[in-house]
């Protein structure tokens, strides 16, 4: 049987979004795994799905992977509405690498892949298995029983299995959990390679640096979708831009120096925080934080003002917030909301 749409490796990607999720909710009895989640993922995009333990990430992947039926809401996966009747065809177009790779430990690496190649009814199985194993650098272990593989190697077999059918969309549920930094870097390289081939990737992870480096966009999840956007957008949305200023001695009248500067909205003295970025700590240093409306204007003006006031300017640095700051800020808000 010839299947269309299974050729994402070529430049001609299918049109329309790869995944559309609209008000999707999944409950297990009383417990809500995720509620009213809506987002789109475009073809060719690497979409990061972040959230604390129990946030509903795996359940979302399982629902989109047609393993669980949603309680309410709609979704489209690989161009097909997420319904029971479309299950087989959706599963043909996607591949899921679950949280634990789930290999038959008594079977060899190649036997595991052969079985799945059969389930996908693939042609040229030998060639595909060889390519998949080469992609994860495991060709020389093809004959080893999976029981004899380390966790990282098993993870890679799981990845090879997910690649077998050339899926349009690849769901990866924490592909680097439990891997050492080197093995994780290998997986990152692989994901990056797939992205360049135009494979759409839905990546669940706890590693924020990983999401920041690999993902075009991320969604932060905590039962509900808390925010979604490009990592740099999220940083800007959530954190006011600031300018950190450090002088050798405290300014006599900081308000006179900073108030009314172009692009500056307000200021406050920075409390001693030796570990903080550009820490003012140390003998005699003084720190100020300016909140900005326009960094381009503010930085030179502030520098001139400080110097003009006769102070020794030690450092002047724009704020840098990582995706981790965004994440922690959002999840902290949730924790506070819950304890209130």
């Amino acid at each position: 049987m010839k299947r269309d749409g299974a050729t994402t490796r070529t430049a001609a990607a299918p049109t329309g979004p790869a995944i559309v999720v609209d008000g999707l909710t999944k409950r297990f009895g009383e417990r809500t795994a995720f509620a009213d989640v809506s987002f789109d993922v475009a073809y060719g995009e690497v979409f990061g799905f972040l959230g604390p333990n129990g946030a509903g990430k795996t359940t979302t992947v399982r629902t989109l992977g047609t393993l669980l039926a949603p309680t309410s809401g709609n979704a489209t996966v690989a161009g097909l509405p997420l319904t029971e009747a479309n299950g087989v065809e959706i599963r043909r177009r996607i591949a899921v690498m679950p949280e634990s790779p789930g290999l038959y430990l008594r079977l060899s690496v190649a036997e595991n892949l052969e079985f799945f190649a059969g389930l996908y009814e693939l042609d040229d199985r030998r060639g595909r298995i060889e390519r998949a194993l080469r992609a994860v650098n495991l060709l020389d272990r093809a004959g080893d029983p999976c029981r004899a593989l380390s966790k990282g190697l098993r993870q890679r077999v799981g990845l090879a299995r997910a690649l077998l059918s050339d899926p349009q969309i690849l769901f990866l549920d924490e592909p680097t959990s439990g891997l050492d930094p080197l093995a994780a870097r290998d997986v990152h390289g692989l994901i990056d390679g797939l992205r360049r081939q135009g494979v759409t990737i839905f990546l669940t992870t706890h590693r924020l640096a990983e999401a920041e480096a690999l993902c075009d966009r991320v969604g932060i999840m905590n039962t509900t979708l808390r925010t979604i956007g490009r990592p740099d957008e999220l940083r800007e949305q959530l954190f006011a831009k600031t300018l950190q200023i450090t002088t050798r001695t405290p300014l006599d009248d900081p308000d006179a120096v900073f108030a009314g500067l172009p692009g500056v909205e307000g200021w406050h003295a920075r409390t001693a925080d030796p570990g903080g970025p550009g820490g003012a700590g140390g003998a005699g240093g003084a720190g100020y934080v300016l909140t900005l409306s326009d960094a381009e204007l503010a930085a030179p003006a502030a520098a001139r003002a400080v110097v003009g006031a006769g102070a020794d300017l030690l450092a002047l640095s724009p704020s840098h917030h990582s995706l981790e700051d965004v994440y922690l800020q959002l999840i902290d808000e949730d924790v506070e909301a819950r304890t209130r």
Partner: protein, 250 residues
């Protein structure tokens, strides 16, 4: 059910069978069960029959032969029960169910693959043991015993009941497996549940019902109906979500 309307993929079913057989060849418990159990259930009736004296009364011969054949039928009842009860729990324990269910495989195909993977070796082993039994008895037992064993209805009943008993054990084993979270418990329950249909075989074996061709065929038909009903029930149990989460405590 739309899964039943669309044609089943034999490619997928074949892949499942091959995987299953490869897997339990290397599963010590299952391999030993499949190798040792049948031999025990074949040798012990052979010994009993050899010990029959030449001048044993016909009624005694009938009883011993009936018991022996019943013993042989324990093979198609018990062997697939042990194998099939491993079918779903075993996968769930290894965490392999989730990746399998994310492929295009349909629950019906999954179910059939599992069932056939248990049925085919069972038939092979059961008929082989029955063949060895017949050969041994035919060569060395007393004339009158041989005559009793080689009656057409007895042979037909044995040949017919073997797949039907196996069928029941497989469906029950898979049903228990679907709902269970512990391999050992599932295997014990299934072994137990595989025995009731043997009562039918026992009726023939012990001459409660005279073993005629009609009786053998009639009882075979009854077992077939039970098997089909069991398959229907198991099919409805076989729901993706239930498979994935069923039995496992959240």
């Amino acid at each position: 059910m739309n899964a039943l309307q669309s044609p089943l993929s034999w490619t997928r079913i074949r892949a499942l069978i091959r995987k299953e057989v490869n897997d339990y060849r290397r599963n010590r418990f299952i391999a030993v069960t499949m190798a040792v159990l049948p031999v025990v259930f074949m040798i012990s009736p052979v010994i009993t029959i050899f010990k029959l004296p030449a001048d044993a009364p016909a009624s005694r011969i009938d009883t011993v032969v009936g018991l022996s054949l019943l013993y042989l039928m324990l093979i198609p009842a018990l062997v697939p029960a042990v194998v099939a009860s491993y079918a779903v729990v075993g996968e769930r324990e290894q965490g392999t169910l989730e990746p399998v269910l994310t492929t295009p495989v349909r629950p019906t195909e999954f179910l059939l693959g599992k069932a056939l993977a248990a049925l085919l070796p069972t038939l092979l082993i059961s008929y082989l043991m029955y063949g060895v039994f017949l050969a041994a008895v035919g060569a060395f037992a007393h004339e009158n015993v041989v005559h009793d064993i080689f009656q057409a209805p007895r042979i037909l009943a044995q040949l017919l009941f073997t797949p039907l008993l196996a069928g029941w054990s497989i469906w029950v084993g898979i049903a228990i497996s679907t709902r269970s979270s512990d391999v050992r418990v599932a295997q014990q329950l299934s072994s137990f549940a595989s025995l009731p249909p043997l009562a039918v075989a026992a009726l023939v074996g012990f001459d409660v019902i005279k073993p005629t061709l009609t009786v053998a065929l009639g009882l075979g038909l009854a077992l077939l109906v039970i098997d089909v009903l069991a398959w229907r029930v198991v099919s409805t149990l076989f729901h993706r979500e239930r498979l994935l989460t069923g039995g496992v405590k959240a």
